[in-house]
C-alpha cells in the first residue's frame, strides 16, 4: 500500500503557505522536494562529521571519507552497476554529460563519424553532442518521435545505422515518455555504437538497471530524486572510463606530479573527481537513495502510473487543452506538458500560482522538441511521490478559472 499521507509528513516544505494557500507543488520534474531525512543527513554531516574527503589522515577526515564512499556503494547498488569505481560523482547530470563529451567524445570522435540523439532530448543531452559534431566535423543525426510522442524502433534503427555514438533519454522531461532503454541500447550496440543514456528524468521514477540495459554510460542528477543540489552521477563501464583522460585537472585526480615530467593519473573513480567535491550533497544523495529504497522503486513507478492515468483523464476534460506526449498512461511518467488555446503558458502558470499551484512554463530546456511539436512554449505539471489525486482536481479547477479570466 502506497501511503501518500504518511510520505507527505516527511516534507517540511508542505507546512508552508504560498500566497496564503497550501503549496501544491507540481514542478518536481524541475527539482523534487526534500524529505526531512535528507535535510537531516546534510545538517548532521556538517554538525558532526565535516572534513574534506580523500585527503586528511585524522579521524574526522577518515569518517568523512568513509561516509562519502559509502554513498558510492549505495549508488552502485541502486542502479545495479557491476563495480563501485564505475560511479563518478559530478555536480549534476549536465556536468556528467559534458565529462563524457570532453573525455570520451573529443578523444574518440573523428571527422565523418556519426553521432545520434533524439528530438525529445533535454538540451543537456543535445547541445554537448551537437557541439562535439561541429568541432570534429562529425555527422549529427536526430531521431524523430512518432505522433504519439514516442521513439519508433524502426526509425531509430534506420538513423543509428553506422553510428559511433548514440545518446537518448530513458524518459522525457516534457512528453513523459518512458523509452525502452534495453531495446534501444541493443539496436545501438548492433551497429557497434557506444550507448549513452540520460537518466535524469527516469532514475527518480523507474527502477534503473545498467546491467540489464547494458548502456555504456548513464547520467543522472541527485536533485530530481530528492537529494541536495550539487549531487550528480556518471556511470560508465570500466573499459570506457579506463580509456578516457581526466576531464578536470587538479588535486585528487592525480597519482604523481613532477615538475620535469608528465603527471600520472589516479585510478578510477578519483581520476574524474578533481577538486573538493560537494561532500554534503553526496551524503544527502545517500539519504535520498535510502528513502527511495525504503518505499521501493516498483511501488513508486506504479503510483506514478496511477497518478498519470488520473491526470490524463482529468486534463482531457478541459476544452482547448492539448497534452503533449503519449496517450497511454503506462508509457509515461506522472507529468503532463500542455498548451491551451488563447492563453500563453506564462499566464497559465501565473494564474495557477495565485492558487498556490507551482508549475513550470516555457520550453523546459527542449527547444528542438517544441519546434517539432509546433508549440512556442508549454505549461508542465509534474507529480511525484508526495502528490495526491486531489491536487489533480485542484489543478483542473484552477485551469478552468484561468480559462474564464481569458474568455
Amino acid at each position: 500500500m502506497f501511503d501518500v499521507d504518511k510520505i507527505r509528513k516527511d516534507f517540511p516544505i508542505f507546512n508552508n503557505k504560498v500566497n496564503g494557500k497550501d503549496l501544491i507543488y507540481l514542478d518536481s520534474a524541475a527539482t523534487a522536494q526534500r524529505p526531512i531525512q535528507v535535510i537531516d543527513s546534510v545538517t548532521g554531516f556538517y554538525k558532526n562529521k565535516n572534513a574534506n574527503v580523500a585527503r586528511g589522515l585524522h579521524t574526522l577526515a577518515e569518517e568523512a571519507t568513509i561516509s562519502y564512499e559509502a554513498v558510492r556503494e549505495k549508488v552502485q547498488k541502486f542502479i545495479a552497476a557491476p563495480d563501485q569505481k564505475e560511479i563518478i560523482f559530478t555536480r549534476n547530470a549536465t556536468e556528467a554529460a559534458n565529462l563524457v563529451m570532453r573525455a570520451w567524445g573529443e578523444k574518440f570522435i573523428k571527422k565523418g563519424d556519426k553521432i545520434v540523439t533524439t528530438i525529445m532530448e533535454h538540451h543537456s543531452d543535445f547541445v554537448p553532442w551537437q557541439q562535439l559534431a561541429y568541432k570534429k566535423g562529425a555527422e549529427f543525426v536526430v531521431v524523430d518521435i512518432t505522433e504519439d510522442g514516442q521513439i519508433s524502433e524502426n526509425e531509430f534503427e534506420k538513423k543509428v545505422k553506422g553510428a559511433k555514438f548514440v545518446a537518448f533519454s530513458a524518459a522525457s522531461n516534457v512528453l513523459g515518455t518512458i523509452t525502452d532503454s534495453k531495446k534501444l541500447c541493443q539496436i545501438a550496440h548492433d551497429q557497434g555504437a557506444v550507448c549513452f543514456i540520460d537518466g535524469a528524468q527516469s532514475v527518480p521514477s523507474v527502477k534503473t538497471n545498467v546491467k540489464e540495459s547494458n548502456c555504456d554510460f548513464l547520467i543522472f542528477s541527485g536533485h530530481k530524486l530528492m537529494a541536495p543540489f550539487g549531487s550528480g552521477v556518471l556511470y560508465g563501464k570500466t573499459e570506457f572510463l579506463e580509456q578516457m583522460d581526466p576531464f578536470l585537472y587538479g588535486g585528487d585526480m592525480i597519482r604523481e606530479v613532477h615538475a620535469e615530467r608528465n603527471s600520472v593519473w589516479n585510478e578510477l573513480p578519483n581520476k574524474f573527481e578533481s577538486g573538493t567535491p560537494d561532500v554534503g550533497a553526496v551524503i544527502g544523495l545517500g539519504a535520498a537513495i535510502d528513502y527511495l529504497n525504503k518505499i521501493g522503486m516498483d511501488k513508486i513507478t506504479s503510483y506514478e502510473h496511477e497518478l498519470s492515468s488520473y491526470l490524463l483523464n482529468a486534463l482531457s476534460g478541459i476544452n482547448g487543452l492539448r497534452v503533449l506526449g503519449p496517450t497511454e498512461p503506462k508509457k509515461r511518467l506522472s507529468l503532463a506538458a500542455f498548451s491551451m488555446e488563447k492563453i500563453h503558458p506564462h499566464d497559465v502558470s501565473a494564474l495557477l500560482d495565485a492558487d498556490g499551484i507551482a508549475v513550470r512554463s516555457g520550453h523546459h530546456c527542449t527547444m528542438p522538441l517544441h519546434e517539432r511539436l509546433k508549440v512556442d512554449a508549454s505549461t508542465r505539471a509534474s507529480f511525484y511521490i508526495y502528490n495526491k489525486k486531489e491536487e489533480v482536481d485542484l489543478l483542473v479547477q484552477s485551469l478552468e478559472r484561468a480559462k474564464k479570466i481569458f474568455s
Binding site: N19, K342, D347, L351, D376, I405, F406
Partner: protein
C-alpha cells in the same frame, strides 16, 4: 499575482493596439526572450518634422508582454527623436499601472518591448 490580470490587460492581449507590420520604417528591430519563446518585432516611422508618425509591432507572447507592447507603441507616437533617446524602462513600466517588483520574470515580459525599442533606435534600419 492575480491583480496583474486586470481587465484592460486581458483586453489588450485579445485585441492588441498598433499591431501589424510597417513598410519602410525608420527604425526596426526584433528581439526574443529565449526562456519562454516570446518575441516582438517593432517598427517606428519618423516624419519630416522629426517626430514619430507611426509605431507598430508584431509578435507573440504572454498577456503582459503583448499589453505592454500595445501601450508602449501608443506612447511613442508624436515623440521627437530627442525624446525617444531619453525614454526609460520606468516610463515603459508605468504604462502598465501594475507593480512587478516582486515578479522579476514577468518584469522581463513587460520590458521585452522596451528592449526591442532600444535595439531599434540604436541600430537605425
Amino acid at each position: 499575482m492575480e491583480e496583474i490580470y486586470q481587465q484592460f490587460i486581458i483586453d489588450l492581449y485579445k485585441n492588441p493596439l498598433n499591431f501589424g507590420k510597417m513598410e519602410e520604417p525608420t527604425y526596426r528591430a526584433e528581439l526574443g526572450n529565449a526562456t519562454c519563446g516570446d518575441s516582438i518585432e517593432l517598427f517606428i516611422k519618423i516624419d519630416s518634422n522629426g517626430k514619430v508618425s507611426e509605431s507598430k509591432f508584431i509578435g507573440k507572447g504572454c498577456a503582459i508582454s503583448q499589453a505592454s507592447a500595445s501601450l508602449f507603441t501608443g506612447y511613442l507616437k508624436g515623440k521627437s527623436v530627442e525624446q525617444l533617446n531619453i525614454i526609460t524602462k520606468d516610463d515603459c513600466l508605468a504604462l502598465l499601472k501594475i507593480n512587478l517588483d516582486k515578479n522579476p520574470s514577468r518584469m522581463r515580459c513587460a520590458l521585452l518591448v522596451f528592449d526591442t525599442f532600444k535595439k531599434a533606435v540604436d541600430q537605425k534600419s
